[in-house]
Amino acid sequence: MRDVAIIGVGMIPFGRRDEDSLMDLLAYASLKALDDAGLGDKSVNAVYVGNMGGGIIQHQTAIASSLVDRLSLLPAAAETVENGPASGGSAVKNGLLAVASGYYDYVLVVGGEKMREVTGWKATDFVSTMTHPEVEYPYGVTLPGMAGMFTRLYMEKYGVTREHLTAVAIKNQDMGALNPYAHVEMSISREGILDSPHSVVNNPPVADPLHLYDACPVSDGAAAVILCPLETAKKTGKPPVLIAGFGQATDTHTLQERDDPTDLKAVSLAAKQAFEMAKLKPADIHVAELHDAFTILEIAESEHVGFFKKGEGAIAALAGKTKLGGQIPINVSGGLKARGHPVGATGVAQVVEITFQLRHELPKNRQVKGAENGLTVNFGGFGNNVLAFVLRRVQQ
């Protein structure tokens, strides 16, 4: 197996992009990544597109075939990878394995989603299609609903409170306000969402005990990376970022069949595999992008990947240990919470953000100083299909 590096990244600002089609989003991010990699008018051998909803929302299938045509990447191999909200991570994994195997030398991985094209009702229904079609979906359960039930159990078991959740929301919104790619570039205050009469209006419940500012927005967006063998990447101008570790694990489709529904086994396993492959420990990580579709998930994942012991993630968040400059900066991009969550794009966007960090090219107010190792966690379903990547800056 060959070592695989990221030689180009591209992302477009997430948000509501009424003027762009899904294909526009994918094409813009792809072109930015191709340019960043210095490939100019050269081609790639293969393209993997992470997308969850094209078939449902846009009524368009075979998206990868359309994208290679639009980008004039013909006759590159191309396919769409659908794995729920982990579609982006799965697309990166496919690219990684394709280059590592020696079969392809240059691969474009792009993840994208256009969710704001339909009403909130329709978008919520679309995301709910990943729940069990017979024993969950008919009841009207949504992903925020799953997260609400999970949060109630996590609060009961570990003493997590709304104050802890609010600390995560404030941190991620503060960082999102500094990130030009973020959907919600806006800071929020504790008074505004927790401590004042206004908070009742500003921050209504979405799925108790979770409130509006505990949840990520519904977004349009796309992100892309170019992968190639590390040895080739070393000859380019930019510091190569090695995909040092990768892991993926699954768990039961329904929450009800987990012996302990607060135990996110697939997160622990995916991270463990990624750390083992990279020969690194959680303490070696300098910056992490965790899948905070809900604030509780950032806390739970920070424990399950091994940054904190079970039950201590919430305390760490409240104490500022996960802020920029803290023990382990988490979601310095603003996370899904502020950057937004175009489902198929997220797993790729996390890798793009960590690449920015490891290349040390972000402005001071967002850069984790001297970061050399980063982690991403892309959480599909309600934790039933999870991918983790460990990225490492390589000295040229």
Binding site: V135, P138, Y139, G140, P144, M149, L153, Q256, P261
Partner: protein
């Protein structure tokens, strides 16, 4: 009252109770199951009020929960309550089989848990 129209699956080899159906036992991989019906009342394991409902629900909110029957069958259902104020983890609920949504003008039936404590 309508009977609870769900079937759970008990592994003939190790006894693990499954709902929904799996082709192989989650614990021991056996393919032999005994069909069992959920039995008795149930214990509410967790719940939430969903305020942003998916397309197809014409109402302001919906309370959803997961409950465990007396014979170990665990299932999701709607909770028959006006708010979560009176609900608590571990409370006893009575399972009913009732309309949980409508599709194309037809009622879709499923589990509705009625708090009885």
């Amino acid at each position: 009252m309508m009977s609870i129209n769900i079937v759970a699956y008990k592994c003939k080899k190790c006894g693990r109770v499954h709902f929904p159906f799996h082709d192989r036992c989650l614990a021991c991989k056996s393919r032999e199951f005994e069909e069992i019906a959920p039995k008795g009342n149930a214990k509410l394991l967790t719940y939430t009020t969903i305020f942003n409902l998916p397309w197809g629900f014409d109402q302001r909110f919906l309370i959803i929960g997961i409950a465990e029957f007396e014979n170990g069958v665990k299932a999701m259902g709607q909770v028959d309550a006006q708010s979560v104020e009176g609900l608590k983890l571990g409370m006893k609920v009575r399972p009913n089989w009732a309309s949980v949504r409508q599709q194309h003008g037809e009622d879709i039936y499923g589990l509705k848990f009625e708090p009885i404590e």
